[in-house]
């Protein structure tokens, strides 16, 4: 059988990335916090949202800003009263996760993808 090495490598790596994205999407959706959750969490906003805007939205959601991550649109926040996730979403957050033992970038990227997919398939 004739086979091209580089084509095989590209096909393999692209396939693996697609499978990985699908598995990560499922797992990250399961990792997303329910609306009634509270405590310390990562709040993900749309990229490009200014720091001042995020700060005021967090205040309106009764969330205490702990610190921004390396990406300004992902913040670590805290709040004791139940329903913090729901309030964050009302203020424009597109996802909330417990602090992950990996870079918050992953959570941010998948939260964005999740929100875009939800928009696309919304009735």
């Amino acid at each position: 059988m004739e086979w091209s090495g580089h084509r095989l490598a590209i096909a393999l790596f692209v396939s693996v990335v697609l499978v990985w994205l699908a598995v990560m999407a499922v797992v990250m959706r399961a990792a997303a916090l329910p609306s009634d959750a509270s405590g310390t969490m990562l709040a993900v906003f749309e990229p490009g949202t200014t720091e001042d805007e995020i700060f005021s939205r967090l205040t309106r959601a009764e969330a205490q800003p702990v610190r921004p991550t390396a990406f300004g649109f992902i913040w670590i926040v805290n709040g004791a009263s139940p329903g913090l996730v729901a309030r964050l979403k009302e203020q424009g957050a597109i996802g909330a996760y417990r602090e992950l033992p990996i870079s918050p970038t992953i959570a941010g990227c998948f939260a964005l993808a999740d929100a875009k997919a939800a928009d696309m398939f919304a009735p």
Binding site: M1, V16, A30, Y97, L100
Partner: protein, 409 residues
């Protein structure tokens, strides 16, 4: 009805065999790369000091190195697929023990010894040996490159997956998921069954010698000893950077998130570097790019520690090191094959890899020891750079041709 010969089945075609071997390498390398994420949750759950988990992982690395020549000998004797499958079972068993035990001793047995042996038996070294026997010599270096790149890709993919699994389902279920993932190696190894070396005879053009004689003669061959010495440096540099770069960056004011991304860049660039190295090894003499890799690593290290540590310099360093990270592997494996042929390649590469793991031990240990003594990582950085120059020099005199004792009379 005429029985179908195993070699005619669709999954015994070269492309499928290569893909299957690469998937083995991805899972093998990937699962172990996510173990570090469990340090906090497991230690917290059982009330253990961090040392308990760290000791098991150190034991795992040691056993991985020590068991690799043995696993290689088994693969050379019985074929790669059977060894990979047995390794997958041990890998899964050890990972399950890590999840279910609350006894430090059993944790070390499971996560340290059993997982370590399982990793060795299902590692990409075994896969590469199988590739070496199955693909034509002109594609051999490329095959070593794609297998190494796949291992890197597994590492890059499984680490965030492991973290996400912990966040979604808790550390216990995440560990069981990873244990189940290792069993995929059994399915992925099926196409490699075609490469059955049970009762194998000498390959055409190679001398008919025993395994014991092969090992003795290899260690009496100057070029092999030089290769073993050089690979020690590879292990030293990589393990030091993996373990001690994050705290070094923190000391210089780089945030945890940026440090995490910078470390991730190593994995990403490593995929490209490993694959390119396989291609280069097929076109040029392998000792020259190998020597160049070590000298470039030294230059990168010296430039990094002499310049102010910023986000840009950190990313430049980790991207450069990523390209050079496992790119030594296809070239090193290629040299073993050129010198000693394919019959005992898994065993002989196993000893080279053992040297790598000993280097890893010293890179991690000396990094901490000298930091405690001098209050700075600088002495070990300089040691790493000097060792790189040493490795570049020792690879130059390697004679890239069959060892006399291994060539057929």
């Amino acid at each position: 009805m005429v029985p179908v010969s195993p070699a005619t089945r669709w999954y015994f075609t070269p492309a499928i065999i290569i893909v299957a071997g690469c998937l083995v390498a991805m899972v093998n390398f990937g699962v172990r790369s996510s173990f570090g994420l469990f340090t906090g949750p497991i230690s917290l759950e059982h009330g253990w000091p961090r040392e308990t988990f760290s000791f098991a992982m150190a034991l795992q690395n040691l056993l991985w190195g020590v068991a690799t020549p043995v696993a290689g000998a088994l693969a050379d004797r019985y074929g790669a697929a059977r060894v990979l499958m047995a390794g997958a079972v041990l890998y899964a068993l050890g990972t399950v023990i890590m999840a279910i035990t609350d006894a430090p001793f059993l944790f070390s047995i499971g996560g340290g010894i059993i997982v370590g042996i399982g990793i060795a038996m299902s590692s990409f070294g075994i896969v590469m040996a199988a590739f070496g026997r199955m693909v034509p010599p002109e594609k051999r270096s490329w095959a070593f490159g794609i297998a190494t790149a796949s291992g890197s890709m597994g590492q890059f993919g499984f680490a965030p997956l492991g973290g996400a699994l912990i966040a979604a389902y808790g550390w216990y279920n995440a560990l069981l998921f990873l244990a189940a993932s290792t069993l995929l190696i059994i399915a992925f190894a099926v196409p490699l069954l075609v490469q059955n070396t049970s009762g194998s005879k000498a390959v055409a053009g190679e001398a008919d010698i025993t395994l014991r004689a092969a090992i003795t003669q290899a260690f009496g061959h100057r070029s092999y000893v030089l290769l073993v010495s050089g690979f020690f440096v590879c292990g030293f540099q990589l393990a030091f950077i993996t373990v001690h770069l994050p705290p070094y960056l923190a000391e210089h004011g780089i945030s945890k998130e940026l440090a995490g991304l910078a470390m991730g860049a190593i994995g990403l660039f490593n995929v490209a570097g490993s694959y390119a190295s396989g291609i280069i090894g097929g076109k040029y003499q392998k000792r020259l790019p190998l020597s160049l890799i070590y000298i470039l690593r030294s230059i990168a290290i010296v430039a990094f520690i002499l310049m102010p540590i910023t986000a840009a310099s950190t990313f430049a360093f980790t991207a450069t090191m990523g390209v050079l990270w496992l790119s030594t592997v296809p070239l090193t494996m290629g040299l073993v094959t050129v010198m000693f042929g394919t019959r005992y390649m898994a065993t002989l590469y196993g000893f080279v890899f053992l040297s790598h793991q000993v280097g890893s031990f010293f890179g991690v240990w000396l990094g901490g020891r000298l930091y405690d003594q001098f209050g700075s990582y600088d002495p070990v950085w300089w040691m790493g750079a000097a060792l790189g120059v040493f490795a570049a020099i020792v690879h130059l005199p390697i004679r890239e041709k069959p060892a006399p004792q291994f060539a057929a009379a």
